[in-house]
Amino acid sequence: MKSVLFLAIRYLRFNRVKTAIMVFSIAVAVFLPLAVHLLVRDYQRGLLARAEATPLIAGAPGSRFDLVLHALYFRGKPARDLTMNDAAAINHSGLALAIPLLQKHSARGFPIVGTSLEYFDFRALSLAQGDGLARVGDCVLGASVAEKLRLHPGDKIMSDPENVFDLAGSYPINMHVKGILAPAGNPDDDAIFTDYKTEWIILGFMHGHQDVAQSDPNLLLARDPTNLVASEAVLPFQEINDDNLILFHTHGDETKFPVTAILVVPHDVKSATLLRGRFEDPKAAAQLLIPKEVVSETFDLVFRVKRFFDAQALLVGGATALLLGLVVLLSLRLRRGEMETMFKIGCARWTIFRLLAAEITVVTTCGVVLAVGLAWIVTVKFGARWRAHTLPPQAIHQESLSTPNAQPRVAVVNYPLSYFTSRLAGNEVEIIFPIPPNEDPAFWKPDSKGLREYQTADLILLNGADYEKWLPTSALPLSRQVVTSAAFADAYMTNGEVITHSHGSEGLHSHGLLDFNTWMDPTQAKQQAQAIRDQLIRLRPTAAGKFDTNLQSLEKDLDDLDRLLAHASVPLGRAPMLGSHPVYHYAARRYGWNLKSVHWEPDEMPSDADWRKFEQLHAEHPAKIMLWEEDPLPSVAARLRQMGIEPIAFETCASQPKTGDYLTAMKTNAARLAAAAAKAP
């Protein structure tokens, strides 16, 4: 056999060109169907793995394939959008975690995927370099994007113009690269991730521009107490930085802003079934898909096409085999003399046959090996290297805990929420309130450390009513945010006074249209406490009894406070009252105060113009009592008393009172009010 193989190889080596052509022909005939098969199998595995790892996808009614391709692989865009409210509804259902996706733009050809921080936990994505998303305008890059674009943390990347023929359509923004993700071996490697609000900025739902009230007067076309009309010459900022971050704002209701898809991660099988039932209604404004089913359907189609290619490959393979057979036969004719010589010198015809068989075997083996090698290279180079790592919702939640049995970390945005949580939870949770005591929490500008505290908390208790001015520009896990005042959101009050003004050391800022001091009404404070109790039970079900008991105690204290304030307000009746700031609307509504507010700071002497306006207001609204967040300057107090107005310090308790706590401070407020009311004629 050794000699036969030796002679066969000598023959093939001598006829190099002929051998190479035959090997190549076989390789091509084998490679094409093999590579197609391997690639299809590889893609099928990759696509199915990612689909299987994504339990449900919600999207607007329309093409199921478009939705799944978009949500899983960031390809194409669904014809219609959902709204943020749809994601909130799923989260509030208590059945599943909703992870919004908003992907409408690209940067240097790579898709910009706007999402919430839960996405990174869900897909088990980790950072290889830099930090995660902190605020709008930040982005983290997939490993392939960073490698191909040679970007590093600290670099910037500009989003692509949406339409070169409509430059005003959406403004590209220059995003800050905060971090690079570790390779995941899936489409996440080829995406640029931002907070979904960054995508809203690119879409124009949210923007920042120079303060028209304070800058060039030529830019201001009209002004009334509640509205400013600016010239179109006002350009939005194309980059978000520390200086202009505060100027970014939304127009309209955020809950109606778009998301293109929602990854839905049910808490368990029953939740998934219930959730699917809700979307079964043909009139439902959204569809809920099981991506695995859709991807499998797609593959059924692919395999139908592949069968055609397989048949074609079989024919081509057959034709190649026939041609090669012909070549061998012709070759035998040419080599007849050689075979005769071999026979004459004593070679068996069987040995000659073995020699030919060895030649054909060697050629075929080389062709097949070459084909397999090429197919392997092609598969490695172009095949899907997709792996799908996801974590179940419980694991996503646990991710944020330093250890599974550690105290849950509850982050709050102001002192009243901290006080309520402390009263309810005791030592069951760790309360995080990272805002420095000397800063008004409503106008806090978060630094990365402070923001990180919120991002890593298990529960983020928000006040609502536009209290958290920093929230719209920050990246926080969506599912862990709870608006404690949501139960009475329809009873929010507008302060409706001034849009932009100076506010002491915080500098220029804008008040929202809502009065966010919801806890100034103890009955509302009770509802907020109840909302906190509900979330604490979700976080620590085993301590539910303790939370309930503590809530009862807190509610009793708040009822007492309510009675005190009501009692203090009785003598006032509908007598005119003044407030130094529009922060007492809820108390006024609760206790029937006839209150009007200005915008004066306790530590500032108002200007002469302010005094003139105030005198005019006082003439129309002859109040005897003026409520201040803290004692005003003595000179201001003296001038007020000259006008027959008694200034009363009535703390809002947004920050921790200098002495006591929320309850004692509010009781002190009630006592001061009662005393002033008794003195007032």
């Binding site: 000699s3 030796f6 002679l7 000598r10 023959y11 080596r13 001598f14 006829n15 003399g337 050689e338 005769e340 010589t341 071999m342 026979f343 004459k344 010198i345 004593g346 070679c347 068996a348 040995t351």
Partner: protein, 221 residues
């Protein structure tokens, strides 16, 4: 060495018939087989070599009754006792000279390719002046070199009977005589009986015995 009696051979579908009533060749004899084209010189050589089998009659070579042996046995006999030199040398074009000389060992399981065999091939090449051309392929060799390589191949197994089919065809006179000298020399050195087919009168004149195939042929080819 060779004893033929009442031998008859006919190619299927042909009128040609070779009939050898009686022929005897002793060991170590040098015999030229002459005759015009188509007279059956090569056929007789192939019958003696066991490549062809007679229709009737007997061929005994070295006391082996070739006429009664099967194909495999005749092939084994051929490998063991006969060295063949062909008219057109019939070297394998994709093997170099050294491998061509060693070819019988590679093709026949009965002959093991040993180091000794390789040494013999080198020795034969040295004797025939081919030692510097061992790595060359047939198309790189001259006519004479090819012929010498074919003789080396035939002599590798130390055959008792050396059969040469027109080994000097298409050669110039000097080369012809050199080849015949070589055959004589090698046959003498190995003690082999030499049968050479030729129609060259000069070559025939150098053989002690000449057989004319015209005497054996009957009918047309």
């Amino acid at each position: 060495m060779i004893a033929i009696s009442d031998l008859e051979f006919r190619f299927p579908g042909s009128d040609f018939r070779l009939a050898v009533p009686s022929l005897s060749i002793t060991a170590g004899e040098r015999v030229a087989i002459a005759g015009p084209s188509g007279s059956g010189k090569t056929t007789l050589l192939h019958l003696i070599a066991g490549i062809l089998s007679p229709e009737r009659g007997t061929i005994r070579v070295r006391d082996h009754a070739l006429h009664s042996l099967g194909d495999a046995a005749r092939r084994a006999f051929r490998v063991a006792h006969i060295g063949l030199v062909f008219q057109n040398f019939e070297l394998i074009h994709y093997l170099d000279t050294f491998q061509n000389i060693l070819l019988p060992c590679r093709l026949n399981p009965a002959l093991r390719l040993t180091v000794e065999m390789e040494r013999r091939a080198q020795a034969l090449a040295q004797q025939t002046g081919l030692d510097h051309r061992l790595g060359y392929f047939p198309h790189q060799l001259s006519h004479g070199e090819k012929q010498r390589a074919a003789i080396c191949r035939a002599l590798l197994t130390k055959p008792a009977l050396l059969l040469a089919d027109e080994p000097t065809g298409n050669l110039d006179p000097t080369a012809k005589h050199r080849i015949v000298d070589l055959l004589f020399q090698q046959a003498q050195e190995s003690g082999a009986t030499l049968l050479t087919v030729t129609h060259d009168a000069e070559i025939m004149a150098r053989f002690p015995r000449v057989l004319n195939c015209r005497d054996f042929a009957a009918g047309g080819k």
